[in-house]
Symmetry: none
Subunit: 82 residues, 3 copies
């Protein structure tokens, strides 16, 4: 076994670990979805602005999940160590 | 043991780790389902817009779970290291 | 020890790790069940629409748990590495 194999093996584990960040976005965006559904039920005439606000907030919550994805993709396809 | 076996073994662990991201979507979408059910109970006449908002938000919350699935599938079937 | 044994051992760990995703669906769907029960208690006449909304949302929350199950089954029965 050479060193490159060890680095690639560790990178595969690292890529999997990076995806765990997605837990946060999933919880947060689901909370936003629930409150959004509650709000449109109370004020259906304000649906447009409620949904836009929900999606804007969810897009911000998505960022850390995308950071994890980017690091995983770098580890797999643009690994600086191998 | 050769290096490829080590990389494949680590990729199998990495694929499992990547799926842990699904925790977030499960919690978040369940919260959305609960708030959606509560909202339609209070305003049954607004059911359509409540359910649409709930499903739209849940779709956004699904994304990070799908990122994890994509990384797991890459590690298993399109692994750049083996 | 040969490489296949290491890959199979790691795949067993990976399959177990993938199932951790089920935490999310369990929490989320339990929350949905609780809010659904609360809602039918307050508006028994709306039971049909409440339960349908709850089950629709819970089905969405199930998806990431199923992704984890699929990856675990692939690691065990359709492992691309062994």
């Amino acid at each position: 076994m050479n060193g490159d194999a060890l680095i690639q093996a560790a990178s595969a584990i690292g890529a999997g670990l990076a995806m765990i960040a997605g837990i946060g976005a999933g919880i947060g965006q689901g909370f936003a979805a629930g409150k959004g559904a509650e709000a449109v039920g109370k004020q259906p005439e304000a649906q447009g602005v409620i949904v836009r606000t929900m999606l804007l907030g969810a897009a911000v919550a998505e960022t850390t999940g995308i950071y994890g994805l980017v690091i995983a993709l770098i580890l797999l396809f643009a690994n600086p160590f191998v």
